[in-house]
Chain length 339, copies 4
């Protein structure tokens, strides 16, 4: 439920309405807008009786939020959220490239790749320190050692760091080292982890669950915002379908739909969507041409010996060309206007 105040409502009126909402057992969340104040009424399990608030001084109208999500919706906040990490801004137009290996293997490997991708235009360095693996017998990542390597990479290159946190314990560690914390596709509905992310001061990247509807995805983001962290970036990474020629099916319609429904920035991960090197370039360009706010792409200087997902990693020289194409497609589309 969204309560909209009149343009000329006074601060006293606003405070009184908030007090009234809280007295009724709800949580009031003021959202200052350009012209007027709106107040989100949260934690209402059932339908709220509008009559209860409509008569209060300064109240203009109540918008019943039929979508199950609230804080993440564009109805709630009409301007796109910009997630900032120093001079990196996700959501301001030009797509932010996040590139790096699937897993951090050594300082040398990480630095080699990081320098390449920075030179090609990447602003963030991605890499796995703690890896969620289908098999308990697969390489599980270097752990904290991997995080320390990433921190060194940031020091030496200036690239911002993004990496995944799989549980509470790891979250505390990752929060210490990373600039943006990734919640993976298998944890999209790990509500306990989402709440922990909601208490963080660091930006969070929330990947779509591999069979999640857009509503479920936005509701998962709602868990994070509801705890107070509004720095959330959504990441489309392909959905599970009957098709087996790609690891997943990249759902580019989701980009347009999320942009209409939510103010949160959205990026894609063409590497995990395609799962084969030859699909990464086309899917990355395709993402750029839908106007995404960023792309996460796996790059490895020696994919044949990569400890994880080498087959979907681009060679550095491929990434050079691709990065240029992505920026040029973005410029071309933003100049002529999206349709």
């Amino acid at each position: 439920m969204l309560l909209v105040m009149r343009q000329n409502a006074t601060q006293e009126e606003i405070d009184a309405v908030i007090g009234n909402i809280e007295a009724a057992g709800f949580t009031a969340r003021p959202i200052p807008g350009g012209h007027r104040m709106a107040i989100g009424i949260l934690h209402n399990k059932g339908p709220v009786d509008p009559a209860r608030f409509l008569g209060l001084p300064g109240v203009k109208e109540l918008i019943p939020v039929t979508r199950p999500y609230k804080l993440v919706s564009r109805e709630f906040k009409s301007t796109t959220t910009v997630v900032r990490m120093g001079d990196v801004a996700i959501g301001e137009g030009r797509p932010v490239l996040m590139a790096g290996p699937c897993a951090i293997e050594s300082l040398e490997q990480a630095l080699t790749i990081a320098k390449h991708v920075k030179a090609a235009g990447a602003e963030m360095f991605r890499g796995g320190a703690f890896k969620p693996r289908t098999s308990p017998y697969s390489f599980q990542g270097l752990g904290e050692e991997g995080l320390k390597i990433m921190a060194r990479v940031r020091e030496e290159t200036g690239l911002k760091i993004v990496t995944e946190a799989m549980d509470h314990e790891v979250f505390d560690l990752v929060e210490e080292y990373a600039d943006m914390i990734q919640i993976g596709t298998r944890n999209m509905q790990n509500f306990s982890l989402l709440r922990r992310a909601g208490q963080s001061k660091k930006p969070v990247m929330l990947k779509r669950g591999m069979s999640a509807t857009i509503d479920e995805w936005l509701m998962a983001a709602e868990y994070i915002l509801e705890r107070g962290n509004e720095q959330v970036v959504l990441c489309e990474r392909g959905i599970r379908t009957f098709a087996k020629h790609s690891r997943n099916t990249l759902d580019l319609s989701a980009v347009c739909v999320v942009r209409k429904e939510s103010h949160l920035p959205i990026i894609t991960d063409p590497s995990h969507a395609g799962g084969h090197r030859c699909q990464v370039g086309p899917l990355a360009r395709a993402s750029a041409s839908t106007g995404v706010d960023g792309l996460m792409i796996e790059v490895h200087h020696d994919p044949a010996t990569a400890m994880s997902d080498g087959g979907q990693s681009l060679y550095p020289e491929q990434f050079n060309i691709l990065a240029r194409q992505i920026f040029e497609i973005h410029d071309l589309v933003s100049k002529q206007g999206e349709i």
Copy 2:
């Protein structure tokens, strides 16, 4: 099974091998290449004994075709097939735009739209005369009257005509009027209709079934080529998934995979994939950036009164901008090289 002749094999040797294959109950299909002759061995139900042919003079090797398709495969023919209709060529690089209304409603409607899309750069005019409809109570198209209108449109604008044939009876009619005959998604495994298409002298556009794997799709094309018609264009139009925010999920990975597997040109239909106007532009640009050979896009000058699928039709002015973006993205990618 593909039999490869030595580079210096004589015509007599080739003829002898063909005779031998046919004597064994198979069909031999010679495929002249740049450097050597290859011979497809068709209609072999089980595994062919290689010893049978390997000893013949001039034979270099037998390639067991593990893929179930043969004539459509790039192994069989390495250069991309170009489908030509007069001066329109699908498969030569620059994407061919096919645009028009979902259903032909009147000459005036058809001409109005056709002139718009031609001015914007379309080379072909699409429109439904016989419509496959989920409900027997929905508008089924103008029938032959619709075909006559399309023929008039061609006369007046020079645009080539593409429209769907749903059964044998309609096929005969459509073949008479159209430049390219569309086999729709619901008929992708209508094997009887595919065989009919294989006997046509006109190019055929084969849409992917809504839950077809790439193997099934290429096997459907194989039915057409096997009967002698090699002018086939494949059309990706979205697959059925759990996602409900779009009509279907456009599977752009399929474009790369089909290009590797088959020599047939491939286009996409972003209008039927998305099913909502706002998704058509992004999906069309996304298709262009994967290097498709063409796009089929619904355009209507007055979508609100369209008799079919108005909600996914672009306005003419939207198509103008989109067409320009498609060509520019194509130029950009082809100049820098696909990755």
Copy 3:
């Protein structure tokens, strides 16, 4: 749109209403019920103005049929349709077993299997004479020769015959020989073939398309009923999902939903759903316990040499046990009442 007449409406009033409907460009379809006459208003492309008919003498009410289907719906006809072929009745309670090989290979093969399955309790013999095959190079069936063999089987065993018709030409032939004509999963939306089936005097079995929603399936049946053939049996045969351990995923929820929505009898095909012999028994018993009106099961006395789908065919002795289990589960459930 369903128009319901008052209980005491006279024949003159009914005739006048029908005339009025037809004059307005619709098709009127009278459906006599126990207590009153209802009249289906067909071919109304858009919303019908209720005022137009509500004022007519004898008219009680207009029920806007929000479901897209009409003639197949239980709202339209509340009692389950019984499809009869001689003394075989599908829809009367006890499940009708249809068993036989995937493909008819020879008279000896067909008769051997037919005698087995009859002894085990089957009432119908299934078998393919014209086979829809993904590959043009696979065995396509014996054709009319296969139909003749099936007719001989009927003569010698008394089993009714069901087999597939893939196109118009084949339909004419099959109609001549078979007791029930099967429309396969790939032809569920071959609207031209559905219309042909609607003109037949023979019962039709309509398999669900492999990615068809229940609405689309019932609309396909509507095409048949709309042309005058009400003897339609629906067959659930598994849907395409991401799961690859079975050929398809048998959707048993569809059985309950179809029973609520439609008066048409429904059977399942556990052989094509599972695709592996070991899954057929469990899926068949599972179907029986949901109260299906019949089951179609592949049986082969020598599956190792079967020309098609041997791996999913039961051995005759397995079918013996399974048939007994199916009948006993049916008795058990019908005695205690379905929940």
Copy 4:
């Protein structure tokens, strides 16, 4: 990798082989069989060189385990695991019924339902104390209060208790109160929680992820066994497909496949699969007829006022009839033998 010792291998030989495996950096896991000793070689990230162990005294052969899972496989342990809680045994034949409300609401509610389901033949009481909810604004369960109520229910009725643990913190609590701990569908690949479950002394029920393949599901169970807890029950609860007439599509083929691949007992949850009351009975009987080791069914004495999922809860009197049908179908099938 499974290393099989000769029948006459001595204990010294076995110990030497184990020492050798561990020295090579792997974990050796001896599995005594009826006739011979087998030794699982765990934590081998890549292919193991067979030559390394094949030459050792007493070694018969190395079975390359192509399936990614080991400890959960029937190759590893051929007899079905029986999970015991006091006199309740899951995996011994007769299906164990677990019934109760979706969410624990009060002691009175829980006791009322528990007495009903016990009288009908249930051996376990299910209910949610901590609820994973798509929305942060939905009822999240009574928490520890709910667990205390369940403990009281056990005291008064003797029913064993099963309830879900969503994270580490809740796991500690649930472990204290419950007889079996449920890992929900959204947490199937919460590897950190799986490892915690592997350290528990209590049996664990692992629900299939809503889009998990059987391999991924068994690999998730492998995480639990690998940490030492072998008391795992698998629960099929429906998969996400394009079909929308049921909440999920119950995948009964998975039951047969899991039984062949794994020694772990398997149950189904027809309530969450169907999601509508009318589908629960048919899907429950269908499950019974495939020979499942148990069923989890939601029952509520007053579904209209239930705080969660009332629409899929059976009335107690429905559960009475259904329980009887389940046991009779089980008896019937086990008497005649599964096919």
